[in-house]
Subunit: 402 residues, 2 copies
């Protein structure tokens, strides 16, 4: 019903502004049955006020039972079908570090890792080598050449890098080489489609050369690749919604997800405080702002319930009032998925969402929490419906037929 | 989004166990407007405790307005699209009585019936002849031979039998011959597709021969066939979910539905008590158990409100504690459809469902009933979403993309 083609046809210009605040991995679980979740535990007077005045619900990023990766869940929040437009992490990371990925390029996310004398992985992150060491190794790997393609190696941070192959006729889908566990060797890249054989062979040649170059070093004596993919050709948010869109996100992957849909990526600094300063400075320049808070997710992944509570409270105290003070016409607050500290990982649980605008109906939800949002009048909705709803509330969608 | 292919790709091994308790035709209606349903009337302290600690909702077996047959509604509960995988009752009954139905076989469910001298049906069940009489007649019908196909006739019980044709190139879809009312003659089998003409002709030849053999007998002097179909090629629950799955069901159709999706069918005995004994004995051998309670539906079909209440209370007292005592990681309790005593038939009303696990969020539902489940955080969901949710809660689905 609300597919992007329809939305694109209905989109009309307006001067209204939309802000989307995403607290990564926001949804949670109680540590003990019957207890409170992270969000229910946190003192969040500003979010609660927005929930009281706004309309609330629970969204499914991909599907009711699906534990989402952050790439697809962000695409869904931006209104793009996350299954049809599944995009490899290599592409998101490459775009995220500002690499000028071109149409036809294939990108992979790389890790330096440690292997023993039998080639079995003993540390997937090579002791989390410092960024200076990573930069040095990336320089070494740049000496690798491949027939008929250009090769780019760019450091992301620490042990993480991006590998890009540029040339004609490169195609996926390809498997990654990171087995994501210890005690086994990295797998070779495999072609999953008939057209993918050449790209697979080139990636494997590069890996063989990298192994040779790194063999006598410690602890980073091998590489593992994942998320090998081509840049997708998505219509931009400007094309679909007619919005000048900007992202404020500190982590490369989220900056990459924003770039994939054509957002400008603004300098976010390192802290939430710097991020909202950027927001205020650029408020006049854009119609849509995506503000990303990463550390809710990191705390959940670490199983640190209390730290996740603190991050939520910090966002409530610092980020929410700063956005509200700019008087967006529509403010959406949500997460990209749940990351309960109990599970120490992303999970399938639906995610609280609130939408605040002059034109939303109010509902029974009296605070911003999993339980209150489950009473909200937005009900249970797919994440892809959130952007169209924000557009409608911003009076940026015209009538469907006469 | 949560199609079976996606679920199959995400399924990972674990040692967790899932139990699915289906009370057939569970959903109901009050006898008087404003009154209580069968489930709301029943004293169900064990189910209520599960509902309080677990997460509840209402499911639609096929669609919001569709009154489901038991075959499709069970396939939906097992996670199979009930429309795409519509399976004739002949197949379910044949598999249900343990007949070794092979790929390409066509099966029909048969009734002995009574017709008058004009060939019009006067009793659709031939006075519910006893099983011994049915067996005798089946023996007689086994003498019928058809060109180029093997013919199997197997008694189910009383007046019910299964007819199977085996040979090359048999194909449906075919119409049944049972008009399901009195005073009319059985219809001929009709081919609904271009490839179905030969099968239709063979079934009609068989019926003509059966009519001749039975003509002078009373009360079973004719047959009526329905649910004529070919065995579908469904991926098994083991292939899709990686689950070793077992069924405990006393009625052939439900055993058949379980066999269609590759479950082992365990000896269920005749009573709920015998069924749960089987469950305990085989608890270590399987990852997934489907436990079926039939008599809720039979009472509803008979219009017997009080008996349906009693069957629900019996299941609450006997079956629920026995399953809980085995500590399944995920316990789902629901029905396959509603069978309100008021309507004396299956109905379109959504069905209460509860899911209990260590990883579900709790919600507002304080008891297991239509009204409380409508407040539950599972909300309103298609039946096909239940198995994926059980898999997620059993930590048997990995993350979708990075």
């Amino acid at each position: 019903m609300t597919d992007q083609k329809t939305i694109a046809k209905l989109a009309i210009p307006n001067t209204t502004k939309i802000a989307l605040l995403v607290m990564d991995g926001l949804g949670g679980l109680p540590l003990e049955p019957g207890g409170l979740t992270e969000l229910e535990t946190a003192r969040t007077p500003n979010l609660d006020a927005l929930a009281r005045d706004g309309i609330c619900g629970l969204h499914d990023p991909i599907g009711r039972s699906i534990t989402p990766g952050s790439g697809p869940s962000h695409l869904a929040l931006f209104g793009y079908d996350p299954v049809r437009h599944l995009t490899g992490r290599g592409v998101l990371e490459a775009l995220g570090i500002g690499f000028d990925l071109q149409s036809g390029d294939m990108a992979a996310r790389g890790n330096f890792c440690t292997v023993d004398s039998d080639g079995l992985i003993t540390d997937r992150r090579a002791g989390r080598i410092p960024t200076e060491k990573g930069a040095e190794l990336v320089k070494l790997l740049r000496s690798i050449e491949l027939p008929d393609v250009k090769v780019f190696v760019e450091l992301v941070k620490n042990y993480r890098f991006v590998l890009v192959l540029r040339g004609h006729g490169l195609s996926g889908p390809l498997t990654g080489t990171d087995p994501q566990k210890l005690g086994v060797a990295p797998s070779p890249v495999e072609a999953l489609g008939a057209d993918a054989a050449r790209a697979a062979s080139l990636f494997n040649q590069w890996i063989a050369a990298a192994r040779e170059l790194l063999a006598d070093l410690q602890p980073a004596n091998m590489v593992a690749l994942r998320g090998l993919d081509k840049k997708p050709n998505l219509s931009s948010m400007s094309e679909i919604y007619g919005l000048r869109a900007a992202a404020i996100a500190t982590y490369p992957m989220y900056r990459g997800a924003a770039r994939v849909v054509g957002m400008d990526v603004l300098p976010a600094g390192e802290s939430l405080e710097e991020g909202i300063e950027t927001l205020a400075i650029h408020w006049a320049d854009y119609d849509f702002f995506f503000v990303h808070v990463k550390k809710t997710d990191s705390a959940g992944e670490d199983g640190d319930f209390d730290r996740k509570v603190s991050v939520i409270e910090h966002a409530d105290q610092v980020v929410v009032p700063a956005i509200v003070a700019l008087h967006p016409d529509v403010l959406v607050v949500t997460g990209d998925h749940s990351t309960p500290a109990l599970l120490r990982s992303h999970s399938w649980h639906p995610v609280p969402v609130l939408l605040h605008s002059r034109h939303c109906r109010s509902d029974e939800a009296q605070a911003f929490s999993e339980k209150e949002c489950s009473k909200g009048a937005l009900g249970r909705l797919p994440a892809t419906e959130i952007m169209p709803l924000a557009m409608a509330n911003a009076l940026r969608l015209t009538k469907y037929s006469a």
